[in-house]
């Protein structure tokens, strides 16, 4: 009964998206305040109904209602309660309901925090978001309903995919979706600005916090996915250039570009049409990611039920949504001319280079992801693009980006002369060069030129991003939250470069076979297998080995890696044993049972690998600080008067 109510609530939520879109867009066009006011109510109603739909599904999971097909396919009575909740978004249908819920939360937030915006702008933004909700609502109701009954009911469920039975992966999709879906807000703002025919620095100021929040969630979501892959897949890698990973990474790159281009639009009224295009593109890539993952057009290790019917729906939706926005862009973008000029060396030029390089990187990844499909469609041959190719091409735009970042942060708007900072920047660079060459050499030994370049660049950005805050603090000057946030985020980026360079250059990996009593050496550590035993979990059986790690005879850690077999889906999972530390991780994963008590093991030494995920948190934290900037909370008097004036005109 509850599940039918949920289904009904979702149908009603879909129905409410239509007045939301109609009264928002048409009301704003005809300047009718009463029509526009309806939009807000539709938004609130849509949120409540979507939450009910989601809640009913969660309830069905919690109650082990195996008469619901989706529950029977993705849960089991032995599944722990927490995962029973996370199982709601464990497969295609439920994850779309989550997607819809997240979208309605974003919409509600835009409606709630739009106090400083003219009513027409808010109404248009909510109207566009209503159209997107309508598309997704229809997608769920027509092709992917999780509310179908299974009759007769299953005695027990097929269980949640064991790969997803992990805390990090349980919260990874909500984070990622919040980011993906969040990009619909700048998209809606862009469309609204094009409909309005007006784009000023106030517009950029409204969009910036939304973009930053979406981007923060995406940052954390991607990092969680990477962290999960590291300890759960049992390979010890942190990024695989898998097409599904790329699908989340491309919107992130464009979102980063958008954040920077918005800065120029806000401060100097520049790059207006470019900012619009990036807003459209970032959300398009989020949708494209969904399409790639759900349509089965690309093979991936990330299993999603793929279905051409769904693929066609998303493709049509993508075409309408993005095609419409791009046509609007072609028509309206010529209106948004910037008349401000800037010198070849200025903050503006650096931001422009940032944008060009990030877009180039995104294009590389997009092409490499699609290339195998492209060849296949043309009937040429079936290939796959390896991670080496991705890494190599990705570094081409990223190295100059990282190097320029250190200078760009200190460039003044309009024309940068670096009069005051030249000496300091030079000193920092020389310092970074010296430390970056010598320190890794002493600690780890020589590796390669690229390693040195990476570490020097990281140190250079770290010092450069600390320069301004330290200077200001010493002189007792105040510093805006925006600048502090920027410095923190760039500092985080440097941590990432440092971690990624070090771990990729100096890691040790070995695959060996051990039986209890035997030991091996890696990077100065002695790893001894002291025991093997069988363990029983709530819904799995496991073989667990005990690995004692010592260094120079002193105990370091005892690890318990497991090889689990989940009872229902009878699939084997690796639960790696990791001794984590600031300077290095020691990673032991169990491979195959070789018989006679011997096991194949993957033993890895990963220096500074924690910096990669720590960096993502620091980057996201920088975003958090940046959106606390006072200027996002001020009502803009000029816009307020304008709004009053336009209201007066209609009255």
């Amino acid at each position: 009964m509850i599940i039918e109510l949920g289904h009904f609530a979702l149908i009603l939520a879909f129905c409410l998206t239509l007045p939301q879109a109609f009264f928002g867009l048409v009301g704003a066009h005809l300047r009718r305040p009463h029509w526009m006011a309806v939009t807000n109510r539709a938004v609130a109603g849509q949120f409540v109904l979507t939450a009910c739909a989601f809640g009913s599904l969660a309830y069905a999971f919690n109650q082990n209602d195996f008469s619901v097909l989706y529950v029977a396919q993705n849960s089991n009575s032995a599944l722990p309660t927490f995962y029973r909740f996370a199982a709601v978004w464990g497969a295609h249908e439920g994850s779309l309901v989550l997607w819809m819920l997240v979208l309605s939360i974003w919409t509600l937030a835009v409606a709630a925090f739009s106090g400083s915006m003219p009513q027409a702008m808010t109404a248009r933004v909510l109207g566009v978001l209503g159209l997107i909700s309508a598309g997704f609502g229809l997608f769920i109701l027509l092709t992917s309903s999780p509310f179908e009954r299974l009759w007769p009911a299953a005695a027990d469920g097929r269980d949640l995919n064991p790969l997803l039975q992990d805390p990090a992966l349980a919260i990874h999709p909500p984070m990622l979706y919040t980011g993906y879906v969040g990009f619909s807000v700048p998209f809606a703002f862009a469309v609204a600005a094009m409909l309005e025919g007006k784009l000023d620095s106030a517009w950029a100021r409204w969009v910036r916090p939304w973009t930053t929040v979406a981007w923060m969630f995406l940052t954390v979501g991607i990092a969680l996915g990477s962290w999960w892959a590291y300890y759960e897949l049992g390979w010890g890698g942190w990024w695989f250039w898998d097409s599904v990973e790329n699908a989340s990474f491309m919107p992130w790159l464009l979102g980063t570009a958008l954040i920077h281009s918005l800065a120029a639009t806000e401060k100097r009224g520049l790059f207006k049409s470019w900012t619009l295009l990036l807003s459209i593109a970032a959300f398009s890539l989020s949708l494209l990611g969904t399409f790639l993952v759900r349509s089965g057009i690309i093979e991936s290790v990330h299993a999603f039920a793929s279905d051409p019917g769904r693929g066609i729906f998303i493709l049509v939706f993508l075409g309408v949504c993005v095609g419409g926005a791009l046509l609007l862009y072609a028509w309206r973008a010529p209106l948004f001319r910037s008349n401000a000029g800037f010198a070849p060396v200025s903050r503006e030029s650096f931001l422009l280079m940032n944008n060009v390089l990030l877009v180039v990187a995104t294009t590389f990844i997009l092409l490499a992801t699609l290339y195998p499909v492209f060849l296949d469609v043309l009937g040429l041959r079936k290939i796959s693009v390896g991670p080496k190719f991705f890494t190599a091409t990705f570094l081409i735009p990223m190295l100059p980006l990282a190097l320029l970042l250190g200078i760009g942060m200190h460039a003044a708007w309009k024309k940068a002369t670096f009069e005051k900072t030249r000496a300091k920047l030079t000193a920092i660079f020389v310092g970074a060069l010296a430390v970056g060459v010598v320190l890794p050499w002493v600690v780890y030994g020589w590796h390669s030129v690229l390693t040195t370049v990476g570490i020097v660049t990281a140190l250079w950005i770290i010092a450069s991003s600390l320069l301004e805050p330290i200077e200001r603090l010493r002189k007792g000057h105040s510093l805006s939250a925006g600048v502090i946030g920027m410095c923190i985020a760039h500092f985080g980026f440097a941590l990432f470069v440092l971690g990624a360079t070090t771990v990729e250059s100096y890691k040790h990996e070995m695959d060996i076979s051990l039986r209890p009593g035997q030991s091996t050496q890696i990077a100065g550590y002695e790893i001894k297998m002291t025991g093997l035993r069988n363990v029983q979990g709530p819904n799995y059986d496991a073989v667990e080995s005990e690995m004692v790690i010592t260094r120079d005879g002193k105990a370091v850690a005892t690890l318990h890696p497991q090889k689990r077999t989940y009872r229902v889906q009878t699939s084997a999972m690796t639960e790696a044993g990791i001794d984590a530390g600031w300077t290095r991780d020691l990673f032991v994963a169990m491979g195959e049972d070789l018989g006679d008590g011997a096991w194949s093991l993957r033993v890895q030494y990963k220096p500074l690998v924690r910096f990669i995920w720590l960096a993502a948190l620091v980057i996201a934290f920088g975003g958090l600080i940046a959106i606390c900037d006072r200027r996002y909370r001020q009502r803009i008097t000029t816009d307020a008067t304008e709004a009053v004036a336009s209201d007066a005109k209609t009255a």
Binding site: I280, F291, L315, A330, T570
Partner: protein, 179 residues
Amino acid sequence: MWRFLLPTVLFAALVTFFAFGLHRDKETLPSPLIGKPAPIFTLPHVEDPSQTVSNAAFAGKPYVVNIWGSWCVGCRQEHQTLLEIARRNEVPIIGVNWKDDRAAALEWLQTLGNPYAQNAFDGEGRVAIDWGAYGAPETFLVDAHGTVIYKHIAPLTLDIWDREFLPLIGLNARSGAAQ
């Protein structure tokens, strides 16, 4: 200003390409097994666990290996096709009952009919791994020399059987399709 139309044009090209991509024939993904000797398996019989089934017993003539499970919706879909192939009595079908529950498998065969010459029970999925199957249903064609010559992923239809399978073992579709 035509340059503002450029994104739309690029996007249209991408969507067109995806539209073709969706209809691309993913069922002919190459299997590393094609052209190689068929892996030999010996497994307990589904109906009678004390008996064993081995594809070695079928050597010398073409045979089909069909990986199925009672949990698999696609298998239910192709079941009528398999029954029809069995009825024509052209090529024996060896079933590999994959990661299934024996009772459920038996019930399936009783209610839906049994097209299999022999049916092997692969509860742990070891044989399926040897054969490189990553889902069910998958259907392999092995020729008289014991070489795997064709692999079909997804539910089998009579159309595919007549068009793709039969010519490979020297039978033409007409003789088979005489209904």
